[in-house]
Symmetry: C2
Subunit: 216 residues, 2 copies
């Protein structure tokens, strides 16, 4: 039985659609009344594991799921040994540095050395500011990162931006883009090597679907 | 203006009730239509910061909030420099080791050395297994930790248990209790030292309320 780790939340609907094109029907996970975390396909060939976004690489790297769908941002932050197989195109967003609109900062290098930067993605932020040779103090937050500058705890944030509405609503502006992210199909490296053809068939079918950039 | 960091979720209602006894009306945060993360009291003396559970100690340790309410489990996991002022009694739960009911393990020391243990609270788990001199591989998960043993990724989990229903629903049983947790009123140490009386008045008023164990 093939197990696929799917992230709850924004990527779920498009993930299910892409697996449908490969003949795997995970639509039961979209049922609002579904409370199960392990959902088999009607055909019995596969099952979905419904997990948090950040846990998809964990299940795939340990081989508890042979395949998974997760944002590139999560892959980059967690650095776990999973194989990136297909850029699925949807779930488009960017990892950006943002500051208060009233701060006057125009680019990351305008930030004062040793200032505080709040982020859920402290690994990505560390790598970025190191590449600029700008020493900053990173403050790890689990949510509502925009509160960092609003409360005065941090000068800037590093966060995912999709439409930019959250930033605007909170008087923040983007000043730098670290990288662009989108949903990726990932695989457990050893399972891919030992594959008798079943996994490759799914990956090939998913890859054949025209990337749905418009859904992003 | 006094800022109080309140955790969204299970502790919020009781937190608001305890501050009401101290004359601070944060009831606006309980409004289902509230989208604001910073909510002033009608009297204008204070405001609530609505943040994730795990972020309360961060805001209080940086002094962006002078007071906060958060579970002891979060304090123990994050080890940030905040002052524990009052055990509020509500939000009672325990940090426990649980395994599959079918596994036959009766206590933590029955677990095989180097087995995997999944947890959101890897710091607490590490400390516990170190105290037993039992080397285990910790797998950090962000949610649905019960999937660890179900999928076969881990032999055991360390997680918060309140009613025990999630464990039962997933065929798991508790075999050890690490510690008991409840909501705590915490303070920013420097703000408490520089207090002109306003913070102490609030803390004293909250402490005077009979601990509401029944709400747990």
């Amino acid at each position: 039985m093939i197990t696929v780790a799917l992230a709850k939340g924004a990527l779920l609907k498009d993930s299910v659609a892409r697996f449908a094109a490969a003949g795997l029907d995970f639509s039961a996970v979209l049922d609002k009344d579904n409370r199960q975390l392990m959902v088999p396909t009607p055909c019995g060939r596969a099952r979905a594991l419904l997990v948090r976004n950040g846990d998809v690489p964990t299940y795939v790297s340990y081989g508890q799921a042979q395949l998974g769908v997760v944002g590139y941002d999560v892959l980059k932050e967690h650095q776990l040994p999973v194989a990136q197989l297909v850029d699925l195109g949807f779930g488009g967003c960017r990892m950006s540095v943002a500051v208060k609109a009233s701060s006057g900062y125009q680019r990351a290098l305008d930030l004062p050395a040793h200032c505080r930067v709040a982020s859920k993605f402290t690994h990505c932020a560390r790598e970025y500011f190191d590449s600029l040779d700008l020493p900053v103090e990173l403050v790890h937050l689990n949510g509502s990162v925009e509160l960092g500058p609003i409360t005065g705890m941090s000068e800037a944030i590093v966060d995912l931006v999709a439409t930019g509405r959250t930033l605007r609503d909170n008087g923040l502006v983007e000043i730098e883009e670290l990288f662009r992210s989108s949903a990726r199909l990932v695989g457990h490296p050893l399972s891919m090597r030992l594959d008798d053809g079943a996994l490759t068939e799914i990956v090939t079918a998913i890859r054949a679907v025209e990337p749905s950039k418009g859904e992003a």
